[in-house]
Amino acid sequence: MERILDMVASQAQEAEVYQVRSQVKTVKFQANRLKSVDSASEEGIGLRVIRKGKIGFSSTTDGDDPHLLIQRALDSSQFGQEAHFHLPSSGKVPLINCHDTRTAALEAQEMIEKGEKAIRLVRKKFPYLECEAEIEKMERKVSIINSRGLNQSYKKTDYQFFLYGFLAREEEFLGVGEEESSSTYGDYSRTLAERLIELVSLAKRRVRISSGKYPAIFTSKAVPLLLKSLKMGINGKVVQKKVSPLLKKMRTYIASSSLNIVDDATFPFGPASSPLDGEGIPSRPTQIIEKGRLKSFIYDLQTAGLMRTRSTANAARSYDSLPSPSTTNLILKEGEVSFEEMIHDIKEGILVDQVIGSGQGNTLMGEFSVNLDLGYKIEDGKIKGRVKDVMISGNTYKMLKELAAIGSEARFVGSTRTPPLYFKEINVVG
């Protein structure tokens, strides 16, 4: 890496070498049985240069011959975007819990046992359910060095457990997926199996719902569907291009005053926790929504430079891409209402858990219109049974303003940590 930086130094105003090395191990179960044990080792280098004020970039998986890499990065800079930033110089790196030696050392055999256990628990309750599982662990080492003196590296681990149960009853399918992810190992077999069993049990009975407007509860698993629009709307790049509907909404109410959202890469052992962002800026929390008011967008160096503000340490990248703003751990603060209380509050409504077709509509504007893949009807304060063959639609921004309650128990779904949310109204078409 240092060699590449030395070689390019005299030909560019600024330069940065970004290197990723990762080791992944995955065990996969299909049709209730262990199917495959996989490993992956990845290694790549990205080179970003600023030359005559413009950005150039190239990448390679072959670090032995840097000449071509350097030439390509320099060549591309003549057509590149004007740089509106300086690379960071050395700074203090916060200590963030995102690496765990036990996870790094985890053997396939142990992962196999966890998968077998989860499937055994589910099948004990529902012998006719066909299970799949995928358990993955990763260790990654990221190094960033630049011509302004930054020279940092950190290690990160990841552990993911996905469990899926499938049932074909004539031509009616039921597929339930449950997932946990973290930077550290945990024994999720029982938690996941129990959550899956609960959802399958509730789906035993089929009930109908007529088209109309109903109150709706989104489980933690379903909330990221709604947040897709918000993630786009707060993205510095979308803001800079003036296509975010939140453009002139800073400090105004964009959600119910009970809603608080923070982007936080420093969250201990979160799936997206890391000490540095993709440009070497130390991680820190950024309040996105405070008591319903929009507090901040998220930026990398370039979008921050263009918007005359500071990077929020949200540059995401891989070795083969330029940095771009993205959320890290998106944390939605818990409220005070339990899941049971929410259900109890509804006379007639729906519980949304899984959907298909998200992201196909005008997501930017907050619109969604999706098929209810796994959802339940609530009647007189009780979950009655599964509803299907309906579409639900609404607008994220409108719904966030009309929040009825926020759940009291949050969990990570991907890199979003959220409780269930209870909305006053959603549109159901059947």
């Binding site: 998986t61 298909i356 059947g430």
Partner: protein
């Protein structure tokens, strides 16, 4: 390369082993609005090893070719963790073939500067109206050499060039933001993406016109879909269901998907055909070294075949179809579609519209998904049909239906087959985007749930 891969392969012992190694060179230009987000060239090299031992597989991917022998040993060791059962592979005769590129206009011979100027022109066209707030314009040429060798004596070297041009215009008037997109792509040369000013103009015009369209209220309708959506329909509403890997180990599903079952009218043919030159899903050998062909999935309304890997074919006692594909060396091959389409029949669009009392004509493609029972797909725009005439334009439309019933609700098939590759691809599991083409003629479908606002 051949000798090296073969000699390494011969040093390990397992029931079956294969090595894929890929050298990929990409040139990309990406505009967002007036700024170039990314421009340049880069390369990637890597391999994937798959080993089978008794009842299981092991897959190992890597970047460093020097670590091949070490990784082969790891693959065999890991495969031995799977002790139970036995996996069989459908027999395929060994092949030894080198497939090289035959390009009309090789993008590698065109300078980055020339590509940049072409894209800049398209971008100006996209942004030419004051209400177009921003654009998203992406060009890529991706050159891949793929080496494949397995322990049964097959060696295949395939070279290909994927071309991609994605054009998006985003129009804005006050709080109203609307997007239109056109994806152009395929396997072949630079000519695929040249001379596309007209498409760029069209995208920009469509985004502007959506500003004035109203959101659709939703309901149950007879719909007519354009060839773009017909292709998505073939892919989402049936294609995925014909991928044998989801049913080969499930007896109930296999019974539901028994060959001979009637899915649609006698007019309905659905075909998957990889060897169509120029289309995104073009290949001659799949990633297990199986020759690709033309597979009728539905013929005269009946389920006649399905898409297989060697493993699913052996398990179901059917012939392999050459549909095991991996999105890159980082993934093992799984059962995937290639170029999937509905065959054309006799109706004209005018006749179809003429016969509709109340319905919706939908055009353009935003996305689609399936859970193998239900599917959804989203058109860009729709026109209400009243008493055989096209009326007002609408936006924010999403269609959904049940796979088992919707195919039999197709009551008219057009004569105008068009195949589209687009600029995206298909996703399955974590493998995305895989280049595929989809296509069909105009179709009329009864009783479709249309979700709106």
């Amino acid at each position: 390369m051949k000798a090296h891969l073969m000699s390494c392969l011969n040093k390990v012992r397992a029931d079956y082993v294969e090595i894929r190694y890929e050298e990929i060179r990409t040139t990309e230009i990406h505009y967002v609005g007036k700024e170039v987000e990314r421009i340049g060239e880069w390369e990637e090299k890597g391999g994937g090893i798959r080993a089978k031992f008794k009842g299981g597989w092991s897959f190992v991917s890597f970047n460093d070719l020097e670590s091949l022998e070490k990784n082969l040993e790891l693959a065999v060791k890991q495969a031995r963790l799977l002790k139970r059962g036995k996996i069989k592979l459908a027999p395929v005769a060994p092949h030894d073939e080198i497939i090289s590129l035959d390009l009309r206009k090789d993008p590698r011979r065109i300078s980055l500067e020339e590509k940049y100027f072409l894209l800049s022109r398209y971008n100006q066209t996209l942004l030419s109206h004051e209400d177009i707030q921003t654009s998203d314009l992406k060009y890529a040429d991706i050159h891949t050499i793929k080496y494949f060798v397995n322990s049964e004596g097959t060696y295949i070297q395939q070279e290909k060039m994927d071309m991609v041009l994605g054009m998006t215009a985003i129009a804005r008037k006050g709080d109203n933001i609307q997007t239109a997109h056109e994806g152009i792509g395929g396997t072949g040369g630079y000519e695929i993406i040249e001379g596309r000013e007209k498409e760029a103009e069209e995208v920009s015009r469509r985004a502007l016109s959506l500003l004035d369209a109203e959101p659709f209220p939703g309901g149950r309708y007879t719909i007519i879909v354009d060839p773009k959506l017909a292709g998505i329909f073939a892919h989402e509403a049936f294609g995925h269901l014909s991928e044998a890997d989801f049913l080969y180990e499930n007896k109930r599903l296999a019974r539901i998907m028994r060959l001979g079952r009637v899915f649609g009218s006698e007019e309905l043919d659905i075909i998957d055909e990889a060897p169509i030159k120029g289309e995104g899903g073009h290949y001659l050998y799949d990633d297990e070294g199986v020759p690709a062909g033309k597979t009728y999935l539905i013929r005269q309304g009946k389920l006649v075949r399905r898409l297989h890997s060697r493993e699913t074919a052996a398990k179901m006692g059917e012939a392999p179809t050459g549909n095991a594909r991996a999105v890159s060396y980082e993934y093992p091959p799984i059962v995937r579609m290639s170029n999937t389409y509905i065959a054309p029949r006799a109706k004209t669009l005018e006749e179809m519209i003429d016969e509709v009392e109340e319905g919706l004509y939908v055009k353009g493609f935003r996305g689609g998904q399936t859970n193998l029972e239900m599917f959804t797909f989203s058109p860009e725009e729709g026109y209400i049909i009243e008493k055989g005439r096209l009326g007002k334009k609408f936006r924010d439309i999403n269609l959904t239906g049940n796979i088992f019933t919707t195919l039999s609700n197709i009551d008219a098939i057009g004569r105008d087959l068009v195949l589209f590759t687009g600029s995206g691809g298909c996703g399955k599991g974590s493998q995305y985007p895989l280049p595929v083409a989809t296509g069909g003629p105009h179709l009329r479908i009864k009783d479709v749930v249309v979700g709106g606002r």
